[in-house]
């Protein structure tokens, strides 16, 4: 046996002509059997199908798209830098999103193309009907490049500089973040520390804004720290250790990435600080790292599956109608209550 992945003789792929000849019909009949664009009699359709099956025929999508315009492919760009390197934080967020986006795209008969770097010259050769950009930065240059190439773009979470973009799936972090904060407050929180990522995307910027507003309205003290996501749990551990060892340590720490949460836990352990009794902790996204931590960490489920599905729907609308929906598309993250924040209190559902 040959174990070959390629047919021994490089036999030309059968075309619509071959099928038409074998079935004794015209090529347009064959075409219509596949496109269902017009009714074909039962016996004819059966003959065509049989012939196609026998020859191993599959319609050439390039040829089909040449006429019809669309190529049957959506692109996906994951913006947060750490998405590319699986070893950094946020891994689960991106897997969940791309898996869901791929499934939703495939359900429409299209494919989802993973595009690490649209700006690269090489990438210009790959065709897309539209593109989903997850977590765009302020005035995102990838989005700009795509638009210049006439590629319809839909964003998952809005570009912070374009907050009313009707072609984005808006993520409303506010309600969940406020639930988190009021739960902390009702548990006795006085001094908050925020350890957030340093990227200029809406997740980082909007949650920080909400927290600042809420704290100042509620009269809680807040110190905010930006930490490059790449420093991982070790980096967060160092920062948390310093904070917790200072003369005025925080009693509540909110972290953005789940790897930061691990670092905070480690620092607390080294200092024999009990969670949630002495220190409350919560994270602004969810992953195995927070679910399985000891103690488990209250965090935000960003509902990535919903976001992905909504993006695909929006992109299809852009392609078919061209006009944006009248109401913005909104996804509202949910709090997953766990041990690290004490009891949910009045903030819980």
């Amino acid at each position: 046996m040959h174990n070959g992945c390629v047919p021994e003789e490089t036999r030309r792929q059968p075309t619509i002509k071959d099928v038409a000849a074998a079935a004794g019909v015209s090529i347009s009949t064959v075409s219509h059997v596949y496109s269902r664009a017009r009714p074909i009699s039962e016996p004819t359709a059966a003959r065509v199908t049989a012939a196609a099956e026998a020859l191993g025929y599959i319609p050439n999508p390039s040829a089909a798209s040449l006429r019809g315009g669309q190529v049957g492919i959506f692109g996906l760009v994951l913006r947060p830098r750490n998405a590319v390197h699986g070893s950094l934080s946020g891994t689960e967020t991106f897997t969940r999103f791309s898996g869901a986006a791929a499934a939703a795209t495939l359900a429409t008969g299209r494919g989802l193309l993973h595009v690490p770097n649209v700006l690269a010259e090489k990438a210009r050769r790959v065709a897309m009907d539209g593109c989903i950009v997850m977590g765009p930065y302020e005035r995102d240059d990838v989005v700009a490049a795509l638009k210049k190439r006439h590629v319809p773009v839909v964003c998952a979470d809005v570009d912070p500089s374009n907050p009313d973009d009707p072609w984005a799936v808006h993520v409303d972090y506010r309600p969940a973040v406020e639930q988190l904060l009021s739960a902390a407050a009702s548990g006795g929180a006085q001094r908050l520390a925020l350890i957030a990522g340093s990227e200029a995307n809406n997740w980082t910027m909007s949650t920080r804004g909400t927290i600042q507003e809420w704290c100042s309205a509620a009269g809680l003290s807040l110190t905010a720290h930006d930490l490059f996501e790449g420093v991982g749990s070790t980096g967060a551990e160092g920062l948390a250790f310093d904070l917790l060892g200072s003369s005025t340590p925080p009693d509540t720490i909110v972290v953005s990435s789940t790897r930061f949460a691990g670092g905070v836990l480690a620092a607390a352990k080294r200092l024999s600080i009990r969670i949630p009794e002495d220190l409350r902790v919560c994270a602004l996204t969810d992953s195995a790292l927070t679910r399985d931590a000891e103690p488990s960490i209250t965090s935000l489920d960003l509902l990535l599956e919903d976001q992905a599905k909504a993006c695909v729907d929006l992109l299809i609308r852009a392609l078919s109608e061209g006009s944006p929906p009248l109401q913005p598309v909104i996804v509202t993250p949910q709090v997953r209550w766990r041990a690290s924040l004490g009891s949910p209190g009045e903030g819980a559902p």
Copy 2:
């Protein structure tokens, strides 16, 4: 401002004709400027480029592929069931692999298509020049379906039922697994337990085989347990708790997925068993869960980036030459030594 993702007037994409007219040359000249298939004089090329730039022209890849045959797209199928649901184990393994595969593919000017389910009828419409299947099962039906559709297939890690497949990137787990075992043995291991996933892929089957052989040759006792990956760390914790509480508890536990490792750690903690003094632990893949665990867990780095790159190279060979490489392509995983197994001993490099 309109915030539009689609141009206000749905203006037809400029074609090669428009560029030719604007530059005052023939369409074949424009074509050759882009394909570099024949020399074009400097001033002419400049005029064409300028015209194309002004019009925002990009060559239509569908049209190009109609003639040339290839569509510039590789498919990627992640076989392990838990790869689809980001929330289960192995997340990082698949992100790393697909990120690396996407980068390697893009570097060749092609795109990487995420294919959740090739068997679905809908998926037949998406075109691929070839497909990478990661972690195929025994007599994998996805691989079979792809081959039936004349799609060249390359596997990352071999189909266990086709161990000499020249169109696979072979992963040789043996050396690293043996290093792990001899380190455990030189640390005093006597009674081993293996908690492996239940999927019939080569990772699971080959490592289990090596461990069984090695233990019987070295005279160590071994009990092997299959656990569905979906049970996660909680499932593994329950099993480990029972094992460690039995009358003849293991002194070494090897787990396949990193989430299982977390469960083992939790069980040991509940029973006040010290690691690595009383119990040695190691995992057969690596992730944030093992790197950041307390104590950190010795595990296998599967070198997913190398695997992905090798797959892309192999697929390109299949497309261009059609004949398999004379020597099998092999990737050899590396042990990442950490606290949970004690000192590496003689097994370490």
